[in-house]
Amino acid sequence: MSDTKPQPHPTEITQPYWDGAAAGKLMLQRCTQCGTIRHYPQLLCTNCYSDGVEWVEASGRGTVQSWTIAHHAFHPAFKGELPYTLLTVDLEEGPRAMGRLDGDPAGLRLGLPVRIGFGADSLPRFTLAE
């Protein structure tokens, strides 16, 4: 396995998300027919089956749904970053996001408020909200 980190390979459907991430914004799909917000990006609105989409910027606020702390690298590219925390976050808009926690995981508990940001690599980073 190569030591290079696996990179996201955007598709036509997901590209606007990654464009937003590169600009530091969390962009989510909103259905133009019924207004339902969805993530990860997908073709159809599960609520009304429309494929009409507009992209909206999320508030960046969310709460902790769960987490794991990686102590073993299953890919050599992540070895130097151990241990790292992967947070599963309930976004204020409804869907979830996964991203690294910046900071100490010791005080983590369900429901803690977090804020999302993006690193230079366009990947989400969470910090515990004050």
Partner: protein, 383 residues
């Protein structure tokens, strides 16, 4: 019409399980197939249905070619990871009861020591492309890391403890020691579990299943045929598959603690016409200790959140109320995609369980769990 009593597992076969086999996955698959067909008292040319396990494995045509099967009448795929084997039994029963074919071979073979290891396998599957795009680049690489948040949430919500996970590891290992074909051969204690190194918190090394090479296969036939075949009849009473909400990524699943099994189990129990108290032995897919506990809840052996207390008093041990994974499971026998769970259940119900035999086992169940939460369950009875 239901699949109750429509078919039986008439042949079972396994290769030796090991960490690194010199044989190819296909050679192992063929070896297990020949063993299962012989166990059934059939000739390979009698096979007229094939459901190969493993979407990157050998297709049905490879078996037709090698066995010289003159008239294959049915083949399909059930790509549900570790739930594939039992999902394939369901397909086989449907095909047999519809008169499409008589004897369906369900074979698996793996050589992960030379092929795709746990860290990359999921990312080769098209159904998980969102995980590969959104989670893999952040270091969510392997199943341990993807499943750990389910276990963590269960612990936070219900007070489930790592020591309760440990009981699953310890009882499963004790059973493996009774099996002449288990990769792990040394006993472990709860303290060994608690001091094993952390892999993906809360999963320690001894919460994680093995990566193994080998093959396992079984033959499904109608009950009418089974009565005239070589082995005691083990018929399927109830069977179902269930897919989790949001099967494409665990992250987006409404309830992280609920698997596809929660949908499948009520259907299988209703079809079987048996209650939980009737189950003498259980072979429960155990890619991680927590997944056993979660399935016990999803199957209704206890309420959601009570899996920890349910297992901690030794119920899963031989002699306990629900002897579970009597072969050593994926945790300690071998990771054979849950195919070994089906094989072991049939063995138990035939009374061929050797030193791990559950006395007078008449009704039992086996489960499968697929990659991100698919579930499959079969309830069987010695006829």
């Amino acid at each position: 019409m239901s699949l109750n009593g429509k078919g039986a597992i008439t042949g079972i076969g396994e290769t030796a399980y090991m960490r690194a086999s010199p044989k190819t996955a296909f050679a192992l698959q063929i070896e297990a197939s020949l063993a299962a067909i012989a166990d059934a008292g059939l000739d390979p040319k009698d096979i007229d249905g094939i459901i190969p396990i493993g979407i990157t494995g050998a297709p049905a045509e490879a078996f037709v070619t090698n066995f010289g099967i003159p008239d294959l009448r049915f083949s399909t795929l059930t790509p549900m990871g570790g739930a594939s084997g039992i999902a394939a039994v369901q397909c086989a029963l449907a095909a047999i009861s519809a008169g499409l074919c008589k004897h369906v071979l369900i074979p698996a073979g793996r050589n992960v020591s030379s092929g795709a290891r746990a860290g990359v396998r999921i990312h080769q599957m098209p159904q998980f492309h969102l995980v590969t795009e959104f989670e893999l680049p952040q270091g969510a690489v392997a199943p341990a890391q993807l499943y750990a948040p389910m276990a963590r949430r269960h612990m936070e919500l219900y007070g489930t403890t790592s020591r309760q996970f440990g009981e699953v590891a310890v009882s499963t290992r004790a059973h493996a020691l009774l099996n002449g074909n288990a990769v792990m051969t040394k006993p472990i204690t709860l303290e060994d579990h608690q001091t094993s190194r952390m892999i993906a918190d809360p999963f320690r090394l001894l919460d994680c299943s093995l990566e193994s090479d080998g093959g396992a296969a079984f033959v499904v036939s109608s009950v009418e045929h089974a009565r005239h075949m070589r082995q005691p009849v083990v018929e399927v009473l109830g069977i179902a598959e269930g897919h989790p909400d949001q099967p494409s990524s665990i992250t987006q699943r409404g309830d992280l603690t609920r698997l596809g099994m929660a949908k499948a189990a009520p259907i299988a129990f209703r079809m079987a016409g048996v209650s939980h108290a009737d189950i003498d032995v259980a072979e429960i897919y155990d890619c991680f200790t927590y997944i056993v506990l979660c399935q016990l809840e999803d199957m209704g052996f206890c309420k959601k959140g009570e899996g920890g207390p349910f297992v901690e008093d030794g119920k899963l041990r031989l002699g306990g109320a629900l002897p579970t994974n009597t072969h050593g499971g994926l945790l300690s026998q071998a990771h054979m995609l849950g195919m070994n769970h089906v094989v072991e259940l049939v063995r138990q119900l035939r009374g061929q369980g050797g030193r791990a035999q559950v006395q007078d086992a008449e009704i039992g169940l086996c489960t499968g769990y697929g990659d991100l939460g698919d579930g499959a369950i079969a309830i069987m009875r010695r006829n």
